[in-house]
Symmetry: C2
Subunit: 307 residues, 2 copies
Amino acid sequence: MSKLLIVGTVAFDAIETPFGKTDKILGGAGTYIALAAEKFGVDSAIVSVVGDDFPQDYMQLLKDRNVNLEGLEVVKGGKTFFWSGRYHNDMNTRDTLDTQLNVLADFQPKVPENYKDAEVVMLGNLHPLVQLSVLEQVKNPKLVALDTMNFWMDNALEDLLKVIAKVDVLTINDEEARQLSGEYSLVKAARKIEKMGPKFVVIKKGEHGALLFHDNQMFFAPALPLEEVFDPTGAGDTFAGGFAGYLAKTNNTSFKNMKNAIIYGSNLASFCVEKFGTERMLNLSDEEIDERLKVFKSLTQFKIDLN
Amino acid sequence: MSKLLIVGTVAFDAIETPFGKTDKILGGAGTYIALAAEKFGVDSAIVSVVGDDFPQDYMQLLKDRNVNLEGLEVVKGGKTFFWSGRYHNDMNTRDTLDTQLNVLADFQPKVPENYKDAEVVMLGNLHPLVQLSVLEQVKNPKLVALDTMNFWMDNALEDLLKVIAKVDVLTINDEEARQLSGEYSLVKAARKIEKMGPKFVVIKKGEHGALLFHDNQMFFAPALPLEEVFDPTGAGDTFAGGFAGYLAKTNNTSFKNMKNAIIYGSNLASFCVEKFGTERMLNLSDEEIDERLKVFKSLTQFKIDLN
């Protein structure tokens, strides 16, 4: 069992989908990653920042799930990062209605003393300079995974490339992989990205699943076909949290074990989208996760004997 | 080993992709289905029609691959069906530049006497009335699979629904499944389509793979991620031909065997797109197919033991 250090936003989200809308609720990449990783019983800590408008209840909810919050700075008089978005009918596209960086604008991350030797570091979506600063504070982690998005490619590419050069795993969506590499084929894109630094590249295709690349090896985990996607918010972060949490639990970074990690990431993401925000992740039993793993097996496993 | 009866166009195609363009070359759903099914060594026959402009070389090429052409009518003075299309850079969308029905306009299919007892019937894309007429001529096939497209939903829905009610398997792409069912979720779409008749529904998602539905069971076969898609023409028909060919060879219509059939369909389709038109399918060895099956296995198979 390894320690997992998580970097990412802790935020308020306001979400509209064809099924309804929410007021400001708990959200943020760091939150979703931590809630997914918690399912593996690992010791984890979030490095992030909130304002003093952030409710104690939300803090407690994370602490109750064994998430260390020593690295969660609370800025007095500051306001917590806020994102608001509306999903279209197909649930694959969304409009951002509002983004208020607030306390994130001047965030200087501080890794808790007890997590500087974390074996696994999951750098969730945040400014590349924040991610770099965290990497400067930790001591020889066994595995560093990075999740990022097109916003940083457009606005901080140079810094982003510096982070990418330092990580072991990059998780990124298909359009972002194409943008970063300049290649349309995801196979070619992954090969180019491996040359930028990461030994493993995970390309997330949303409802179409996720691909894992390493040298000349490839693995594919489908997304679970669902009757209803209620709210896709946090699915990608939940995938990343499941991936990192499983690797921290098993303490094994072989390609074979990475396959299992992306299956677990897909498994947890399939729950995340079933309810608004973090609701489903907060009420999810180990038995449900195991049951769904059986569904993933029957969805993908076949037996053909070659001559 | 069962006999396989194939219905579908035998045609001339002219194709433009970002990699180049062809003159009129051999094409058509029936052709691609037959060339894929041939890999399984089954006895197959095509029911279709061409004009007397159709080269003897193309006929011979099919005959050399054990495809019975007694049901391929040659209309004297008639011209063969012609389709011309241009693929966009993403290879997922295309414009039809020209469609000339020619001899297809008045086609009355005639099933060869020796194939009226075919155990497996693959109704490739053609007018639903042609497909219905073939079903009236055959005697108790063990399995009837139907491939169709949105064109018939738009122009001959009533006839199409009559065919759908009579088949065991419907293969259809994702957008068409949504159009036919009025459901966005593919899980819901498949359930609705099962109520229209077919016990098995295969939803083709192109580069995103294919889903098999039956009662409450689901199986997913990914498309092989490729460095380069050279020409997608015929990939869906090749998938259908691989599917039907494998089922005819194994003579087993269990869900478990259908899983293998869609893996073989995906396997063959992954070759089809590597060259223009039928070129790759005409030069494909059993060893290459077996090698690629290993790639499909390593792409999808994982081992997680539950507690």
